[in-house]
Each structure stands twice: as structure tokens, then as C-alpha cells.
């Protein structure tokens, strides 16, 4: 094998640490790339060893999206920064209705970071990419001095192609449309909180971090006329709905009872003074469609592994102020406003 011939001493993936030299552009960096990144991401485009990936594109419209990941802690219940970096970008590309195909991955690693953990992260990232059906075809590695980073930061960019006749966008919600979510809200944020130092509490909640492109492709196939798709990540359901309301110049009316939230998430939020409507998700989507399509889309989601708890949670209404209102479980009404300030730092 080339690896053993070019680098007689293999990287010490048990006790070794990332050193400044691993980002210097020399042989040490080449070895890191070969023995960790290329090894796990293995694909013909990456293996060419060029500074760019060369691929043919289908005719049509392409989408491109980029996402930086700075989550703390790097490993959390239900995932890690590696899988999250794939899911985040795959989902952002897929929310246009596109089929995500290629990813880039930029790593900023702190000096002294254990090679074993880096290897674990890259391995998980490769598995997530494989499951999502995308390839990591180009990348970059930088090392910063100890104390100037926080373990590992990963930036991914994704490209994909939108099928003919699909025009999904945040400005297409119309009064009368139905609002659906693909499952329970707030799992990711609560899972992260439960593993934060100084805040550890026992919960069985796992992050919902997952790639939704498979489910979206089935949804788009069943109903190409979907109006909006968006993943309620930072700021949660509340903030994402407000974004769409503003883009589309409409209001929304939700029913609190119909918004799926796990009991454990409710309890954790109660304890920490959070509102599940504002807690981040990394494997859920909001879908807005015409009422006649709602049941079909609901069924498609419910038949998919990532949409079992999908539900219809409200409707789009005319409202020049763009208010998202909610009928509370209690029977009153309230606004569900944008997230103000910061609910939780560094959740993705």
C-alpha cells in the first residue's frame, strides 16, 4: 500500500496528538490526510489528490449551501460534530427539494487534539455521508495553536441538483396552507444540554441529528408542489416559522397541543426554564403545503424512519404583521416570537 511506503511510521491513532506540523502543508499534513481523511472518505475524486474535485453535472438547477460547525461538546448523545457536519449541510441543500451529491469539508483543529478523537470524528462523518448517499470530494486542514480553537471546528459545503418542476422556497407560504413538522421538537438542544459540563442531567433523549434527504426525495416525488421546506435548527420551530412568515408576508396559527414534544424534553425544558418551541433540532423539517396535499405528505413522512411522529400543527393565515400565533394547551392565545438573545450557545 502507498500509505506504508510513503510514511514508514504510521500515525499513532491511540496516543498521538495533532501538532502544528500537521497543518503546515508538508509531509506530516499529507500523512494526516492520507491516514485519516482519505482513508475514511475514500472515493475516486478525493483519491486523485488534487486541490479540487472535478465532476460532471447534470443539466438543470444546482443548489449550494455551507455550514460551519462549532458544537460543544464534540461528542454528544446521538451524534458528534462529524455526523452533524454532514447532516447540517445535506439538510440545507435538501430543503430546496434538491438531491445533495457532493460535500467539501474544512477542518480547523486545535494543536494537541487527540488523533484518536479526530479519527473517530472522521469515521463518523464518513458513515453519515455514506448513509446519506453523498461523497466528501474535497477538503482542507488547518491547525491552530493550543488555546486558539476548541478541539475541532468543521465547515462543510454541499451541492445538489433540483429536479425539474420543483420550486420550494421560504417565500411561497400562502394563506390557507397547512404547516407540518416531521417529528418531536427540541431533542437535539436538550441532548446537548444534558451533556454540557456543569449541567449534566440524566435523560434518555438523543439528538435527532440525521440526514433528511431520503425522506424529502420521497415527499417531493409524491407532491412536487410543496411550498416550503426548512429545518428548524438554531432558534427552533418558533424562529424558523417566523422567518418563513416574514419571507412570505403571512401569519401563522399553531395549536400547541398538536406540536409533538417528548415528555423528557418537556421536563428538561421545564427544569431549565427553556421553551421547546425555541430549542434546536438537527433532524426535523417544517413543511408548508396546500391543504389538499397535507395528508399525503403526512403519510409519506410517517412511513419514513425519520418522520414517524410527523404531525399537522397549524395553518398559514393572512396577517400583515407576520405574527406566528398559537392557541395554548391552556386555551388562551399567544404570540410565538423570534428567539431573543441566545438560548444555548454553540449547539451546532
Amino acid at each position: 500500500m502507498a500509505a506504508t511506503r510513503r510514511f514508514p511510521m504510521k500515525l499513532d491513532l491511540k496516543k498521538g496528538k495533532v501538532e502544528m506540523v500537521h497543518g503546515s502543508g508538508g509531509r506530516a499534513m499529507a500523512q494526516l490526510i492520507e491516514e485519516i481523511f482519505v482513508k475514511h472518505f475514500s472515493n475516486p475524486m478525493l483519491e486523485q489528490g488534487n486541490d479540487q474535485a472535478l465532476f460532471n453535472v447534470d443539466a438543470g438547477r444546482m443548489v449550494m449551501s455551507c455550514d460551519g460547525h462549532v458544537i460543544s461538546p464534540l461528542f454528544f448523545p446521538g451524534g458528534d460534530i462529524g455526523s452533524l457536519a454532514v447532516h447540517g449541510t445535506v439538510n440545507d441543500v435538501a430543503m430546496s427539494g434538491a438531491k445533495p451529491q457532493y460535500l467539501s469539508a474544512g477542518f480547523i483543529i486545535e494543536e494537541g487534539y487527540p488523533l484518536s478523537d479526530l479519527n473517530r470524528i472522521v469515521e463518523s462523518m464518513a458513515a453519515a455521508a455514506k448513509k446519506a448517499g453523498v461523497m466528501v470530494v474535497t477538503g482542507d486542514t488547518k491547525v491552530v495553536e493550543r488555546g486558539k480553537g476548541d478541539g475541532v471546528f468543521i465547515t462543510t459545503t454541499g451541492v445538489g441538483v433540483v429536479p425539474e418542476g420543483v420550486h420550494i422556497s421560504g417565500d411561497k407560504a400562502q394563506a390557507g396552507d397547512v404547516v407540518l413538522v416531521s417529528g418531536s421538537m427540541g431533542d437535539h438542544g436538550v441532548a446537548i444540554m444534558s451533556s454540557r459540563e456543569g449541567l449534566e442531567f440524566e435523560t434518555e433523549i438523543l439528538s435527532d441529528s440525521s440526514a433528511l434527504n431520503g425522506m424529502i426525495s420521497e415527499m417531493v416525488e409524491a407532491v412536487p408542489e410543496i411550498h416550503c421546506l426548512r429545518d428548524p435548527t438554531r432558534g427552533g420551530l418558533a424562529t424558523t416559522l417566523n422567518e418563513i412568515a416574514q419571507q412570505s408576508n403571512v401569519g401563522m396559527q399553531l395549536i400547541e397541543d398538536d406540536v409533538p414534544v417528548h415528555e423528557d424534553v418537556k421536563a428538561a425544558c421545564e427544569l431549565l426554564g427553556l421553551d421547546p418551541m425555541y430549542v434546536a433540532n438537527e433532524g426535523k423539517l417544517i413543511c408548508i403545503c396546500m391543504p389538499e396535499h397535507a395528508d399525503t405528505l403526512l403519510k409519506v413522512m410517517q412511513n419514513h424512519e425519520y418522520g414517524k411522529n410527523a404531525a399537522i400543527i397549524g395553518t398559514v393565515v393572512e396577517d400583515e404583521h407576520g405574527f406566528v400565533q398559537m392557541e395554548t394547551t391552556f386555551g388562551g392565545s399567544r404570540i410565538v416570537d423570534w428567539l431573543a438573545g441566545e438560548q444555548l450557545p454553540r449547539i451546532c
Binding site: G251, K266, F330, R334, G341
Partner: protein
């Protein structure tokens, strides 16, 4: 969630709403001040007002710990961390409260000061143990509920011989504030605020009991009902107040019997009495100087008192021009009466403290209830008719 969902039951709420409607006298209004921000939050978060008759009005009181802290004390806290190269820890909401010169603890942090958010006094003690070469200052705020944990921390610091831990004490007392509101000329003479009765504090009362309210219920002839923080508690307490008012009674009643007793938590009271003593007076934002309304650390624990170890000058600072927080905290004005509300003052860019905390009246109005503002054209409550279950 067991023991929580029961107190948020929509069916029961509608029944209770009907019961209240049946008992109110249509020829009068009932102005009920909920003292605590926790109540304000529950009222807006669950839309309690929608279930109440129109002539029952909630007047939002000053019971939001970050809202009543005068700007000068926040200026002090910023100076404490910046001038002493210290670690300053405090509860989350405090970080965003605007101080003088458009500063805040959050901005001080961004500029390099070591300001940390903690969930409990124990986190602050842990920091003091972890960084023995740093001064760790706990910026203590809050009513009687948060006072016992601060007392515990000071005693633990003493027992553990911690030399780098101090408390910047800003604990305030509820009954003194209620009494001060009732004594203010606006209530007594001018009649600008007619407060007919009080929804009394829930968590505070679990510590101090219901007895401390008996004096002014009698003296000022205003009924007090100690109310839990869940929306059904708020409605039930409102009903109890309405009954008292209809019957001409002014008593202290306890709705929150699942937690609160007449004498309160004697252990906690003893602990507080051991560590703290009354300040002769303390400035409250909105209320001005209120005699015997706050606590300071006793001399025997002086080594843990940030005001003794460091220089903490008395700073007189003024609210942003036009900010109505002081009047809003006294219940004299509503958030919507303020010119800054929703124009330059929003939760993203708070000018006054009431817009900072989710317990502040302005933030609650803005975040949950601004569609009720009549001057917002087209702002209206949209109801979805659900099929009868």
C-alpha cells in the same frame, strides 16, 4: 409531566373561567396586581387573560429580580470584574440588563472581562476552587427565594477556607416592596393605580410563609392570595381575590397550599438570619429608596463580602430618557404606554430592564401579547375552531 400538566389543564381552565365570570360584579373592575414576574410570565405564556372576564385586569408588579436592580449596582458589578481581573458569576438574565453608557455584563464579557453564567451558587464555589489564584465574585440577586442558597454558599466558603470567593449581595425583600407600593402617593392619594388586591408571591412565600403579608392586608385593606406559578393557580387565586373583594374582606389567603405554609421554611429563615442583616435602605429601580428592603452580609462573614473586600462606590445612574420602566414596575403605566416600547426597545435591544427578562412586563407583552395591542392595525387574536373533542 406529572404534577405540572395537572395545573395547565385547558378543560379545568375553561370551567374555572366560567366560575369566575359567574361571580364577578359587572358594575366594577377588579385590578389585581400579580407581584411576581413568574405570574406575569404564566399569564402571557398561557394566554390566561383570554379566559378571564373583561373587567378583571392584571396589573404587573415589580417582582422580577433583574428588573428592580438599579443601574448603579450593575455598573458596580461591571467595575468589580473589570478593575479586579476577577471572575464574576451570575444568573443568566442578569447578563443582558443594560447598564450606564450602553454597557452590560454581556458586553463587558465580549470586551474581555471574565463574566460567567451559572445555574447555582454551587457552580460559583466550584469556580473558586478551580481558580485559586483568581478572585471569584458571585453577583447575588433575587428575592427571598434565592437568598438561602447564597447563605449556604457563604457558609460553605467559610468551612472550606476559600480565600478567593466573595458575594456582591443584592438580595431584596418582597413585603417591604409591596408595602412601599401601597404607600406611594399614586396609590394612596392620586388614585392613578387602583390596586384592589394582590396575587402574592409563590416561591418567595415558600421561604417566608404567609404571615409577613398579614400586616399590610389589614393596614391597607387589600386582600392577598398567595398564588402558585402555574396558570390554573393564577386563575384560582384571582377567583379567591374576587370573592374577598365581593364580600368586603381583606385577608391573607393561601392558594399555593401544596408548597406554602403560614410560618414558611424555618430552616431557610434561620440560615438567612445567620448570614445576612437588613440594610437601612436600598434603591429599587422604579420604587426609589425603600427602607429596610434589602440584605447585606453580616460582619462575621465580612471576608466574603465583595463590598468589603473591593471598592464599591455608590453610583447614581439614570434610566434612558423616555424609558418608563420605573412607572411600569409600580404598576402605574403599561408597557404600551412607553414611547420606546417596540420602537427602539425590544428584547434584542433592550433599553430598560423590563424588556430583558422573560419575567419583565415589557418582554412578556412584546414576546407573547403584542397582537393584542389595539393600535397595531389588524392585530387580532385568530382562533382556530377545533372540532368538538
Amino acid at each position: 409531566m406529572k404534577y405540572v400538566d395537572e395545573f395547565r389543564d385547558g378543560k379545568l381552565a375553561r370551567k374555572l373561567g366560567k366560575a369566575i365570570a359567574a361571580e364577578v360584579d359587572e358594575n366594577r373592575t377588579y385590578n389585581l396586581m400579580e407581584f411576581c414576574g413568574g405570574h406575569t410570565h404564566a399569564i402571557f405564556r398561557y394566554g390566561v387573560q383570554d379566559l378571564m372576564p373583561d373587567n378583571v385586569k392584571f396589573v404587573h408588579g415589580p417582582g422580577c429580580p433583574v428588573c428592580v436592580l438599579p443601574i448603579g449596582r450593575i455598573d458596580n458589578a461591571i467595575a468589580l470584574v473589570e478593575d479586579n481581573d476577577a471572575i464574576l458569576c451570575t444568573y443568566g438574565d442578569m447578563m443582558r440588563v443594560p447598564a450606564s453608557g450602553r454597557k452590560s455584563l454581556l458586553k463587558a464579557k465580549a470586551a474581555g472581562a471574565d463574566v460567567r453564567m451559572v445555574y447555582s451558587t454551587q457552580d460559583a464555589l466550584k469556580l473558586a476552587r478551580e481558580f485559586p489564584d483568581k478572585e471569584v465574585i458571585f453577583f447575588a440577586i433575587g428575592f427571598e427565594t434565592t437568598t438561602p442558597p447564597t447563605a449556604v454558599a457563604i457558609k460553605q466558603a467559610q468551612a472550606q477556607g476559600l480565600k478567593n470567593f466573595t458575594v456582591f449581595c443584592n438580595h431584596v425583600l418582597t413585603p417591604a416592596a409591596i408595602q412601599h407600593i401601597l404607600q406611594s402617593p399614586e396609590v394612596r392619594e392620586m388614585g392613578a393605580v387602583s390596586i384592589d388586591g394582590f396575587l402574592g408571591p409563590s416561591h418567595v412565600s415558600s421561604v417566608i410563609g404567609t404571615e409577613p403579608y398579614e400586616f399590610f392586608a389589614e393596614e391597607f385593606q387589600r386582600p392577598v392570595v398567595i398564588a402558585g406559578f402555574e396558570p390554573l393557580d393564577v386563575m384560582q387565586s384571582a377567583l379567591m381575590l374576587i370573592r374577598q373583594l365581593n364580600e368586603g374582606r381583606s385577608e391573607v389567603e393561601n392558594e399555593y397550599t401544596r408548597v406554602v405554609t403560614r410560618e414558611g421554611n424555618l430552616k431557610a429563615q434561620a440560615l438567612v438570619a445567620e448570614v445576612f442583616e437588613l440594610r437601612r435602605e436600598f434603591e429599587w429601580r422604579g420604587l426609589g429608596m425603600v427602607p429596610y428592603s434589602a440584605l447585606s452580609i453580616k460582619e462575621e462573614f465580612a471576608e466574603f463580602d465583595a463590598e468589603v473586600r473591593f471598592s464599591v462606590p455608590k453610583i447614581v445612574a439614570y434610566d434612558v430618557k423616555g424609558c418608563e420602566c420605573p412607572s411600569i414596575l409600580r404598576g402605574v403605566k403599561k408597557p404600551t404606554d412607553c414611547k420606546l416600547f417596540g420602537t427602539v426597545c425590544t428584547p434584542e435591544n433592550p433599553m430598560g430592564s423590563c424588556m430583558v427578562s422573560s419575567e419583565g412586563a415589557c418582554a412578556a407583552y412584546w414576546s407573547y401579547g403584542r397582537f393584542r395591542q389595539p393600535d397595531i392595525k389588524g392585530g387580532k387574536v385568530i382562533k382556530i375552531e377545533k372540532e368538538a373533542a
